[in-house]
Amino acid sequence: MTKTTETGATPADPARRDALRTLAGAGAAAAALPLWARYTHAQSAAPIRVGFQMHATGIGAAYGRWYDRTTQAAARLINETGGINGRPLEIVTEDDGTDPRRGAEVVEKFANQHRVDVAYGTLFSHVVIGSAPRAGELKLPYFVVSEGHHVASGMLNRWTLQPGITDVKSQVLAMAPFVAETLGKKVTMIFPDYAFGHDHRDFFSEAMAAQGGEVIAKIAIPPTETSFTRYFPRIPRETDVIYHVMVGPAVLTFVKEMGEFFGPSRPAIFGFIDSLEAVDLRSPGLEFLEGTYFWEGMPRYVQPGQTDYDRAYRAAIGLDENGASLADPRDVSAYAHMFGCWETLHVIKRGMEAAGYAGPQDRQKLVEAVEVMTEMPESHEHPQGRKLFNGRTHQVFGQQHVSKLENGRLDVVRTVPLEETFYPDEVDYTAQPF
C-alpha cells in the first residue's frame, strides 16, 4: 500500500487514509474481543460477517431505514441465542444510494474490502439487477429481499437467492381471484412506468383473464411525475375496480388526487400497500381510501388471533400494535415487506448451520444447503407464516393477505394460502455451474 503514495499529494491520500482506517478498524476489533470471548471455539470465534446493502439515501431511503431496524433486531436476537455455528453475527452496512452503479461497487467492497461471508438485504429491483452480476462473478452468495420477479425469472445467477420474501408474480396471482369475485370484472390498472409496474401489468392481466375478468385500461405513469390528476380521465367510465401500485415519495399525492378526482362516486379500489408503505394511514388526504382494499405481505395492524411469533417480532423491533414505532406513533414501519429481512437472516443462519459453514471457502456449500431447503414452518424465524422454498428457482413462496381499510386501520379480510400462489418454474438454477 505504501507504494501508492508516490502518485502525488491528493490522489494517494485516500489510499493511505484507507489503510489507516483499516488499522483503526483492527484496533477497534481487538478492543471488542472480550465480548466474543463467551463464544466457545477460540480459533473460529471471529464473527460471521453479513454485508447489508442498505438504501440509506436516494429514493429507497424510507424503506431502507426499516430494513435496517429489522436487520439489527434479527441480528441481536441471533446473537443472544448463540450466534451462527457458535460464532457471533456481525452486520456490515454500506449505503448504495438506491443506485445500481453504486450497488455493484458496494458488492465489490463487501467481497474484497470487508471480506464479508455473504451479501444481503437489497430491495429495489434495479439495484439487485445491477449488483447481481458482480456478486456472481465474485462468487459471493447474494440474498436479496426485493419481492421482484427477477430471481425466479432466471435473469440472475446461481449465487443470487430470495428465500425471505415472495415475488410479485405470486403476489399478483394470489390477488386476482379476490378482485374478480368480490370487487368486479372490469379493472383499470395504474402503475409506474417501471419494469416493476410492467410486471404487475403483465401478470395481473393474465391472471385476471384466467378468472374471467378483464383489464380494460392500463395507465403507466412516468416515474418523474409529481401530479396525477390529468391522468385520471383515462380511467374508463365502466371501470368496476381500480388497481393501483405506486412507489416513491409522490404516492400520497397520487392517492389524495385520486380522491379529489372521484369525489363521492368512486369505483371499488384495490391497491398494493407498496403505495402507502411506511405512511401513516391517518395522514390528511387519505380519508378517501376508507373502505378500499390492499394487498399486505404481513398485516401491519395486529389481527385477532395474533401469533406469539408476531408478538415477539414486534417487540424485538420496537413496534406497537399499529405497526408504528413505540417511540413515535407517527413513525410507521414498512411492515408488509420488512419481515423479509428477518426471515432471510434466519435462512442464512440455518443454511450456514446445515452446511457447516466455517469461512468463505464454504460459500458454495452454503448456496447448496439453501437450495435443498423446502419447508419453513411458521415460527419465531418465520413470523409472517409458513414458507415453501423452491431451490430450482431460488424463490420462496408464502401466504398473502387482502386487507380492508376501515376506521383508519387495515384488517385482513382474506388470506390466500401459499399453495394458491404457485406458477410453473421458469428456470433451474441448480443446473447452472457455480
Binding site: K3, T10, P11, A15, D99, N112, S125, N157, A195, P222
Partner: protein
C-alpha cells in the same frame, strides 16, 4: 512533441500498470472502474474544457454507447467486439444529430437543450421497456462477455483492458488538443469572433468536437456495460450528466490529465467518507465547497497555475 509532456502522461500510464501488480484487490477493482469513467470525463472535457461548451446532457452519449452495445449483444447475440463498435457508432450518430440542433444555441441555452435531449433519451429507454426492461435494465450473460478471446469477467483482464482504453483515450485527447484542430477549439473558447475572422468554420469545428466527445463518452459507456455486465437506465439520468462536469471541474478543466484525477478524487471521497459516517454526503458537500474556495482551477489546473505552466 514535448518530452516532459510525454514523460508525464506516459508516466501516469506506467504507474497505473505497476499498480496492477501491487494494489489490493478492492482498490484494483475500483481503479478499473475509475479508468473507464475517466474516459467519459476526458470526452466531456474535450467539449467543455477545450471548446467551452457546457453540456448538461452527456449521460445520453454514455447511455447510447451502453445501449448501442448492449441491445444487439443481448437480443441479437452480436459478439462483444462488434457490439462495442456498435456502441461507439450509436453514440457518435446521436452526437451528430444532437450537435446539429443544439449548436444553433450558445451558453445557457446550449445547457438546457442538451439537458432536454438527454431527458428525452432517458424517457425513451423507459418507453421501450419491452426491449430495454426499463429502469431495471439488462444483465449481460457472463459467458458471452469475451473480447478477442479475453474473458471480461476476469478482474486482471478487466483492469488491463480498462487501462488500454484509458491509454487510448488519453493519448487520443493529447494528440487532438496539440494538433491545429485542438488549437482552433481553444481559440473558439477564448474568442469565437476572432476565430471566425481568421477564417475558421466555427460550426464545423464545434460539431466535430461534439461528435468526438460523444464517441469518447459512448466508448466509456459500452466498455462499462461489457466489463461489469449490466446495462441500466440510471446511467442516462440527469445526475450522470452532472458527474462528468463535476469531475472535470474538480480535476481541472482544459487539462488532459485532470479528468482522471477528478474521477479518482470524487470516487474515493464518497467511498471513504461513507465508511466514516452515514452522513457522507455532508462531507462530500463540504469538500466540494472547500475545493472551489481553495483550488479554483481544479487539481491539475492548480498544479498548472502554480508549477507546471506547460501542462497541456
Amino acid at each position: 512533441m514535448n518530452a516532459r509532456i510525454l514523460a508525464l502522461h506516459g508516466g501516469l500510464l506506467a504507474l497505473l500498470l505497476v499498480l496492477h501488480f501491487v494494489l489490493p484487490v478492492y482498490h484494483h477493482g475500483n481503479l478499473a472502474r475509475i479508468m473507464v469513467l475517466a474516459c467519459y470525463a476526458i470526452g466531456y472535457n474535450l467539449l467543455f474544457g477545450y471548446t467551452g461548451l457546457l453540456s448538461l446532457g452527456h449521460a445520453m452519449f454514455f447511455a447510447a454507447g451502453m445501449y448501442g452495445m448492449g441491445m444487439p449483444f443481448h437480443h441479437l447475440g452480436l459478439g462483444a467486439e462488434l457490439a462495442f463498435l456498435a456502441g461507439i457508432g450509436t453514440a457518435g450518430a446521436l452526437a451528430l444529430v444532437v450537435g446539429l440542433l443544439a449548436l444553433r444555441t450558445l451558453g445557457v441555452a446550449f445547457m438546457i437543450v442538451t439537458l432536454m435531449f438527454s431527458q428525452a433519451f432517458y424517457l425513451m429507454i423507459l418507453l421501450a421497456a419491452r426491449w430495454t426492461r426499463g429502469d431495471e435494465g439488462l444483465v449481460l450473460a457472463g459467458a458471452d462477455r469475451v473480447l478477442f478471446g479475453l474473458d471480461l469477467t476476469d478482474p486482471d483482464i478487466r483492469y488491463l483492458l480498462a487501462l488500454g482504453l484509458f491509454a487510448l483515450c488519453l493519448s487520443a485527447a493529447l494528440w487532438l488538443v496539440r494538433r491545429p484542430f485542438g488549437r482552433v477549439l481553444v481559440a473558439i473558447r477564448e474568442n469565437p469572433e476572432r476565430a471566425e475572422l481568421l477564417g475558421y468554420d466555427i460550426f464545423r469545428h464545434k460539431l466535430a468536437a461534439v461528435v468526438v466527445s460523444g464517441m469518447f463518452s459512448g466508448a466509456a459507456g459500452a466498455a462499462y456495460g461489457l466489463m461489469f455486465g449490466y446495462v441500466g437506465a440510471s446511467f442516462a439520468e440527469v445526475h450522470f450528466s452532472i458527474f462528468p462536469l463535476l469531475w472535470v471541474l474538480l480535476g481541472g478543466a482544459g487539462t488532459v490529465i485532470g479528468p482522471f484525477f477528478g474521477v479518482l478524487f470524487m470516487f474515493y471521497l464518497i467511498d471513504i467518507s461513507s465508511g466514516l459516517t452515514p452522513a457522507y454526503m455532508l462531507i462530500a458537500g463540504v469538500a466540494l465547497v472547500l475545493l472551489t474556495l481553495f483550488a479554483p482551477q481544479g487539481l491539475a489546473g492548480e498544479v498548472r497555475r502554480r508549477w507546471l505552466r506547460w501542462l497541456p
